[in-house]
């Protein structure tokens, strides 16, 4: 680039040219930055104006609610173990929703990914179709499917499970197909030469190559799904989110129960994050101790 811009010229010419280039670049960067900041501020003002309570009114109250909850939980701390025992089954339900959804979603997503990877697909002409299917599954937020299914199936854990499983299938379908693309095709060819059918080629030729990556992504998905399942509970899909909503709506005097649920949820999320990050670390580095 440089030699086309300033051809054989003197040093000072080069210097002024360089300075000019730097100046325009700085100006552009500055303009972009100013535009970006203006966008951010305008966005904040718009959001603030459309909020029920404004930011500056609310900022003082941010700690009111946590303080109330902690205060009440502290006063009634002798009740906490009882609340833990009471809400533990709901926590198990939330985790079960996440686990079952991850299991079903990952299996469906793995099949979807194999069908939508060039070179591996069962029906090569339908690769595009299966990719679109996983795009759409990924694009629909869980809450949409969950709410519609709650209308049909009634409130409970199943709508949440199906909703999360569908979203997981879409997300995993994309992630796994990127993994599949890096798999060696030689085992597949070998298996094909001895007459293996498509599912045998995939199970024996591809899956062993990609299993560590598959497992690692599945664990990551499980972490995400625990959070999603807690949130869906809040809109009526059962589990600890639903209990939290009830405890919150009872209002003051019941905040010790809300505190117990907060603690349970926090502990569960941290525990599963740690477990899964340990397992993933072992899978990727292959440490055997």
């Amino acid at each position: 680039m440089a030699d086309t811009t300033f051809q054989a010229g003197s040093l000072s010419e080069m210097q002024t040219g360089y300075a000019r280039l730097i100046r325009t670049r700085r100006m552009w960067n500055g303009a972009m930055l100013a535009l970006f900041i203006a966008l951010l501020v305008a966005g904040f003002m718009t959001a603030d104006a459309r909020n029920a309570g404004g930011f500056w009114n609310g900022i003082d109250n941010v700690f009111d609610f946590p303080v109330e909850v902690i205060g009440e939980a502290w006063e009634k701390s002798h009740l906490l173990p009882g609340h833990f025992a009471k809400y533990f089954p709901s926590l198990v339900e939330t985790i079960n929703i996440a686990a079952a959804a991850t299991l079903v979603g990952v299996m469906a997503g793995a099949i979807l990914s194999l069908l939508s990877t060039r070179g591996l697909a069962r029906w090569p002409s339908l690769v595009g179709l299966f990719r679109r299917v996983s795009d759409i599954l990924r694009a629909i937020p869980e809450i949409v499917i969950a709410l519609v299914l709650i209308f049909v199936l009634g409130a409970g854990p199943v709508p949440a499970m199906i909703a999360i499983a569908l979203h997981t299938a879409g997300a995993i379908g994309k992630l796994y197909s990127e993994v599949n693309e890096n798999a060696s095709l030689k085992p597949v060819e070998g298996l094909a030469s001895v007459g293996a059918n498509w599912s045998q080629r995939m199970m024996l030729g591809i899956v062993p190559q990609v299993a560590p990556n598959y497992l690692s992504y599945a664990l990551l998905r499980f972490e995400i799904n625990i959070r999603a399942s807690a949130i869906l509970g809040f809109v009526g899909a059962g589990g600890i989110g639903y209990d939290l909503k009830n405890a919150m709506s009872w209002g003051q005097g019941k905040f010790d129960e809300a505190a117990a649920i907060f603690i349970l949820l926090f502990a569960a999320i941290v525990l599963f994050d740690q477990l899964s990050s340990y397992a993933r670390h072992r899978l990727t580095t292959g440490a055997r101790t």
Binding site: L40, G43, F44, T46, A47, D48, R50, N51, A52, G53, G54, F55, G58, I59, N61, V62, D64, F65, P66, E93, N96, A99, A100, L103, V104, D135, I136, R138, A139, I140, P141, E142, I143, V144, L147, V148, F151, V152, L153, G154, G156, P157, V158, M161, R227, A230, I231, F234, V235, G241, L244, M248, F262, L265, F266, I269, V270, D273
Partner: protein, 431 residues
């Protein structure tokens, strides 16, 4: 080792492998069976409402127009979906209804309903004429002879006839006919707009001849579909995701330097920053959303702040890992020119990590558009709020379908946009 020993060892290994290969699917199956019963699926299948599913599906692509007669005053009212917003003005009717002393209602497949001054008649092809004289003594139905088919439900005070062409309900005080149509009713213009009865070409013609503003106004303020509110809601959702993600990145960046081993020799500061990130991430979006909506009330700002706080933790972790992996050589080079620490960060570190950070921010931006829909449903802002409201009414399924389509399109557009930006900004490739 002898051949025999190798053989036994090999057989042992194979046996173990087979066992494991059988055990994993068995475990998965056992777990799913447990889930099947723990979630009460047999019970749920029994109580699942297939009627709801049918309503949902048929309502999502079709609508019905009600023609209602007050049997005492003889007044006739025509309203789409029976809603006030879809009511025809008195004396005006769609082409399949002829108003008069005897009102004639043409249904599909040659079915005709007549609302006479005294008598209601429904001529059903292939069955015969049903007449009713609603009054003091009940609805006084006369059916053609023979067995009463199961799609006719007649009692002293009520008659319901459900056919493929429509539905007639007569009580002592009211006679009502539903006629079903495919499509979304009044999607472009409501009945009070002059453009409602025009075809596409006619509307386009009017638009060219200078009425484009009025046409747009009528469409934009459509009372049934509230296009302008929906557009605002979509914008609010994207705004929540944008403010939350960018704000989180701006907060996390300086803190990430504090948490990175190669920039903060002080162990205590590092520890504090890392635990802060863990705490922010661990408390989870749901709890932050609940806590913040107590302080700020419902609205997009609450959602944006909830995303901001949760993602500050996530970004802090990702950014600090990226910072720990920077190449020291560039920093050394900058240092050798006598740069101060801020300049070393600016010219030695930031250019190295920018691509990683930008691509992470864009990834989170697109996933936060989805999260903002969910958070909006909880805090009450954006398209998530509209969606939950429409679902709670349990009858506006066409609007639910419309919102779902819009949400999916919004997410896909954001995906494409962020993918395009990633390619442009990071790889410098023209898309």
């Amino acid at each position: 080792m002898s051949n025999a020993a190798i053989l036994t060892e090999m057989r042992g290994l194979f046996r173990r492998k087979r066992l494991v290969a059988a055990a994993i699917p068995a475990m998965i199956l056992t777990y799913l069976v447990y889930i099947f019963f723990a979630f009460g699926m047999p019970e749920m299948m029994r109580t699942a409402d297939t009627k709801n599913a049918r309503i949902l599906v048929s309502d999502s692509y079709s609508y019905k127009t009600h023609v209602t007669r007050d049997n005492r005053s003889g007044d006739i009212q025509i309203a789409i979906e029976g809603e006030r917003k879809g009511r025809y003005d008195a004396g005006i009717s769609p082409s399949w209804v002829t108003l008069g002393e005897t009102t004639e209602i043409l249904l599909d497949k040659g079915h005709i309903v007549l609302f006479g001054p005294e008598e209601i008649r429904y001529d059903i092809p292939g069955y015969g004429l049903v007449t009713a004289n609603p009054g003091r003594g009940g609805v006084n139905v006369q059916l053609p002879g023979g067995d009463v088919p199961d799609w006719i439900n007649a009692s002293k005070n009520r008659l319901t006839i459900t056919t493929a062409a429509g539905r007639l309900t007569i009580t002592r005080n009211r006679s009502e006919v539903f006629r079903y149509f495919t499509g979304w009713e009044l999607f472009f213009f409501t009945l009070d707009s002059p453009y409602h009865r025009m075809g596409l070409s006619e509307v386009l013609g009017k638009a060219v001849s200078g009425e484009a503003g009025a046409i747009w106004q009528d469409f934009w303020t459509n009372k049934m579909w509230r296009h302008s509110d929906v557009a605002w809601a979509i914008f609010e959702t994207i705004l929540m995701a944008f403010l939350g993600t960018v704000g989180a990145a701006l907060i996390a960046l300086p803190l990430a330097f504090l948490a990175a081993r190669n920039f903060t020799p002080l162990g205590a500061a590092r520890f504090a920053a890392r635990r802060l990130f863990d705490f922010l991430r661990g408390v989870d979006g749901l709890i932050w959303t609940v806590v913040l909506s107590r302080a700020f009330g419902p609205g997009p700002l609450t959602g944006a702040l909830a995303i901001l706080i949760t993602d500050s933790g996530t970004f802090g972790k990702i950014f600090s890992e990226a910072l720990e992996n920077v190449d020291d050589k560039q920093i050394e080079g900058i240092r050798s020119t006598g740069a101060k620490p801020m300049q070393r960060y600016r010219f030695g570190v930031i250019p190295q990590v920018t691509p990683i950070l930008l691509s992470q921010i864009l990834y989170y931006l697109e996933s936060n558009v989805r999260s903002a829909t969910i958070i909006g449903a909880i805090t009450g802002g954006g398209i998530g709020l509209l969606l939950t409201q429409a679902i709670i009414t349990q009858k506006d399924w066409e609007e639910v379908t419309y919102y779902i389509v819009l949400i999916v399109l919004m997410v896909m557009v954001m995906d494409t946009l962020s993918g395009w930006l990633r390619r442009r900004l990071i790889h410098g490739k023209p898309a």
